[in-house]
Amino acid sequence: MSPKTLYDKIWDAHLAHEAEDGTCLLYIDRHLVHEVTSPQAFEGLRMAGRPVRAPDKTIAVPDHNVPTTAGRNDPANMTEDSRIQVAALDQNAKDFGIHYYPVSDVRQGIVHIVGPEQGWTLPGMTVVCGDSHTATHGAFGALAHGIGTSEVEHVLATQTLIQKKSKNMKVEITGKLAPGVTAKDITLYVIGQTGTAGGTGYVIEYCGEAIRDLSMEGRMTVCNMAIEGGARAGIIAPDEKTFEYCQGRPHAPKGAAWEAAVAWWKTLYSDDDAAWDLVLTIKAEDIAPVVTWGTSPEDVLAITDVVPDPASFEGGKVDAVRRSLDYMGLTPGQKLSDVEVDTVFIGSCTNGRIEDLRAAAEILKGKKVKDGLRAMIVPGSGLVRAQAEEEGLADIFKDAGFEWRLAGCSMCLAMNPDQLKPGERCAATSNRNFEGRQGRGGRTHLLSPAMAAAAALTGRLTDVREIM
């Protein structure tokens, strides 16, 4: 047999049909659904009189526009249009008989945190969701990517997706990370190297010692942002850590089925002599704690650096940088560690898991956020929140002056009431620093949870290594 990459193996194992021109129907093992990108898809099914083909493989949870403040179970506390969207999901879940975690359920949370937490996401699976950060699930050695609403409808109706195969890219991170450098820094650094379009047309497999050393949660952070590099998906080969994470989760296989599953999962790795279309090797030692300075996730620099000069770029990027520095209110040459922030947001599907909260708590323990600064922690799920309370993290956050919120997407995209005002500047653990992403005119700097916590203490972008 010819050598294969991990992506090749999963692809081959899910090919339900292949036409002569190479157009394929790829079978989908898990379909995750949220309230924003699904109403039109369910409506389409209704109009065509079609059922959901595999309701057992379809899991829905509202997350994008649910409020994260107390009393949110009362629909009166939601804006009319958000309420209608969540009510539509309630109704669709019921009518079509799919798995559902309503707002009132402690297991509710961000769809990409709930899936792995409940054991829906497993190695070797194909996972899709009407959301670009579906790439997160690639951390399990699953082929996972975002789709549009028409494709959501297609998967609901056929449990397959029309696909053509992507190319294979390997991103190898060799060696060990320095203290203070995290999974978030890896993933931002990689995007800084490839650019936001560098991954277009590829599935990226992350590998190497620094990736193997990461926990499952760290791997999820890395894969989460594969889409920010333009890739179809990011993927990491499963190993003992993966199996351990999955074992015992509510929807993971048990007994003999577990044994059979692990036996197959152990075959899921890229063969030594597999062919790669592109290989990128990065030394872990070269990665420092990073922040973004612009309005594209590729605008990444070490915290010790200064705001770049537009003239130092090429082509269309010159104007783009000029525009983004204007939007961000930054001057070339300004030290990044001098940039003052008025808001800190810790949460999102990138960094809303328990280890992220632990990392932030470690920095915040016994300290206070800077006077006048608004700081918010939004756990990724109700279960993450409960665990953080049990571990005493919630008290650390509250004592430090953070708002301790309920689970949801919150200020990652500001569809709920958590938004920046024009000109406000936020250190955020989320994944997009686009213009207006966190609220019209709002300015976003992406960074790791530990770096966000450090910024909350000093009121400016701060090198976490100075505080550790």
């Binding site: 009407g130 959301d131 670009s132 549009g148 494709e151 056929t158 333009g230």
Partner: protein
């Protein structure tokens, strides 16, 4: 879905790279449960002030481009979120074709599901078409999907590449789901095999 065969229309120049889907349709407009009506908020934050007044400098607010059916833009158009609201908003405004050096993957696929043709051309060609688009309302660009060509207002013809299956669906306005359901026996067979080999799924 409407068929796409040929198009002769005004092209609006938008010479920015990395135009993301948050720019195309900001999140506050994603709360709809319909596909229609989003054109009013296409490029909302670039097109309107916070009080809803038009920003006269923005290309689609200029008299020459109000009826534009084609957009010419920079690299990596449509990056960011998977929201199909982006093509819905373009379509609702009247845009049927976007020309750029490259597109983000999910956005590119979403276009075809909505009768919009995204055309990727080399930077030099896009530069020529961008100049052409800057001429305003009298410069009509012609697109012929079957022949896979773009013709500038000066009569210069450029060929573009396109996946044969996507072209076929767009030319005939075909519904993907209907087509895939014709292969339902393959899907049934696949599921039956999988129930044996990977029963835990």
């Amino acid at each position: 879905m409407d068929k796409f065969t040929t198009l002769s229309g005004i092209a609006a120049p938008l010479p920015l790279i990395n135009i993301d889907t948050d720019m195309i349709i900001p999140k506050q407009f994603l709360k709809t449960i319909k596909r229609s009506g989003l054109g009013a908020n296409l490029f909302d934050e670039m097109r309107f002030t916070q009080d809803g007044a038009e920003i006269p400098d923005f290309v689609l607010n200029k008299p020459a481009y109000r009826e534009a059916q084609i957009l010419v833009a920079g690299d990596n158009f449509g990056c960011g979120s998977s929201r199909e609201h982006a093509p819905w908003a373009l379509l609702d405004f009247g845009i049927r074709c976007v020309i750029a050096p490259s597109f983000a993957d999910i956005f590119y696929n979403n276009c075809f599901k909505n009768g919009i043709l995204p055309i990727a051309l080399p930077q030099e060609t896009v530069d020529i078409l961008m100049k052409d688009a800057e001429k305003g309302a009298n410069a009509r660009v012609e697109i012929d999907l079957d022949a896979q060509t773009v013709t500038s207002s000066d009569g210069e013809v450029f060929s573009f590449e396109l996946d044969a299956f996507k072209k076929h669906c767009l030319l005939n306005g075909l519904d993907d789901i209907g087509q895939s359901l014709q292969k339902v026996s393959s899907i049934d067979a696949f599921e039956a095999t999988m129930a044996q080999s990977r029963p835990w799924v």
